[in-house]
Amino acid sequence: SSFSQLSNKYSKYVPTEGIYPKGYLVGSVSTGVKKNNQLDLSIIKSINPANAAAVFTTNKFKAAPVQVSKKILDQGNKINSIVINSGCANAVTGANGLKDAQEIVKTVDQTIGSTDVASTICMSTGVIGQPLQMNKILPQIPKLINENLGESHESWVSCAKGIMTTDTFPKLISRSININGNTYTIAGLSKGAGMICPNMA
């Protein structure tokens, strides 16, 4: 019964096709942080630097990637990429957690050839209080960027799967809108199934 319910949700809410915004490459890879070779590292990359905005948790114990990403956005930098790992939240991990988050940002920036200022924001989700397994994550970043990114529907679904934790289905929607004769497209990914009562600012 439980399996049937999960299967129903997947077929009901996961789109089989979509229309996606121009100029983005997305995808994911398995680093081995999550068990059974599940996808656990995703990247959303804009082919040109994009304007960026974010709202973050108001929890007083902000995870390292939240602190690092907020600082990068506060500098007003244009953003090329968002990198997200799942399986480990890199939260309550002290100074080493901050270093790890910065290292991930630096590695993504170097791989895409953007080295002047930080142009990547990072996010993590998963277990709190454990350090990131950098030995598993860092080597997979070049592979993900150089080999696993694409603009197809399958790439977007894969990207959505790479950020899942206890989620039973990837959350992905896309839509085109017309404003004063111009057609724009929005795509959205989300994840979350538990510890959910956000109040972001």
């Binding site: 121009k22 304007n51 979350g192 538990g194 510890m195 959910i196 009562c197 956000p198």
Partner: protein, 222 residues
């Protein structure tokens, strides 16, 4: 943890993107609850790379700005609602709509309190039309309520007549068979009218609380 990403090829200025994101998140991701816990990592980020061309949309763009802000808001609501539908162990998707509060913030506070009540959520799981628990949650929300003009109804999602549970503060004779029929649906709407002179209105989206939630979270770390 909640993570979300909204990416567009529209040419939205940096300032406009931040204000659009805040407006839309306040009406979407900040209006959902699965279990009442706030993560250390919650983040919603937006990118706008302008690859679709067209004139830049900024906060002075008038109609264009309002239109894209409203599109973002609807879009964010759809994405946020998927999170609730996939809530750990969830079998129900519940919309709490609060009307006639003194302000939007009051309406939101009441909706959030009902959404986070473990007793309301377990009653929903058990398909028990326990309006008393809903009233109780309204009562401790710490916002002005006209108890003699408060109304609570279940709105079935098949378009059939609503089930009035409380009218002007008076409990109704509930048709339990009808209540059970409504609670059989995966989706349910609960309407609350606080009966004040204000016109504050807010919606919140939540799910039920099941045995499965405990099973999933009893050993998350290991």
């Amino acid at each position: 943890t909640l993570l979300g990403f909204l990416v567009t090829d529209a040419p939205i200025s940096s300032g406009a993107l931040q204000s659009i994101l805040k407006y839309s998140v306040d009406r979407s991701f900040n209006c959902i609850s699965v279990d009442g816990d706030m993560s250390t990592n919650d983040t919603i980020a937006a990118l706008a790379n302008g690859e679709a061309g067209g004139p830049e949309i900024n906060e002075s763009s008038g109609e264009s700005y309002n239109k894209i802000r409203d599109e973002f808001t609807q879009f964010a609501q759809s994405l946020a609602q998927l999170v609730v539908r996939d809530g750990e162990g969830a079998t129900k998707f519940v919309t709490i709509k609060v009307q006639n509060a003194e302000s939007f913030k009051d309406a939101q506070k009441v909706a959030k309190t009902i959404s986070n009540s473990p007793l309301v959520k377990t009653a929903l799981y058990g398909k028990d039309a326990n309006w008393g628990r809903i009233l109780c949650a309204i009562g401790y929300s710490d916002v002005p309520v006209n108890t003699e003009k408060t109304n609570v109804s279940f709105i079935p999602t098949d378009g059939s007549a609503d089930l009035k549970l409380l009218v002007n503060g008076e409990p109704q004779q509930i048709d339990e068979t009808r209540a059970s029929e409504i609670l059989e649906f995966e989706d349910l709407e609960i309407h609350v009218d606080l009966g004040t002179n204000g016109d504050g209105e807010a919606s919140f989206w939540t799910c039920d609380l099941s045995h499965e939630y405990v099973t999933i979270n009893g050993d998350y770390r290991s």
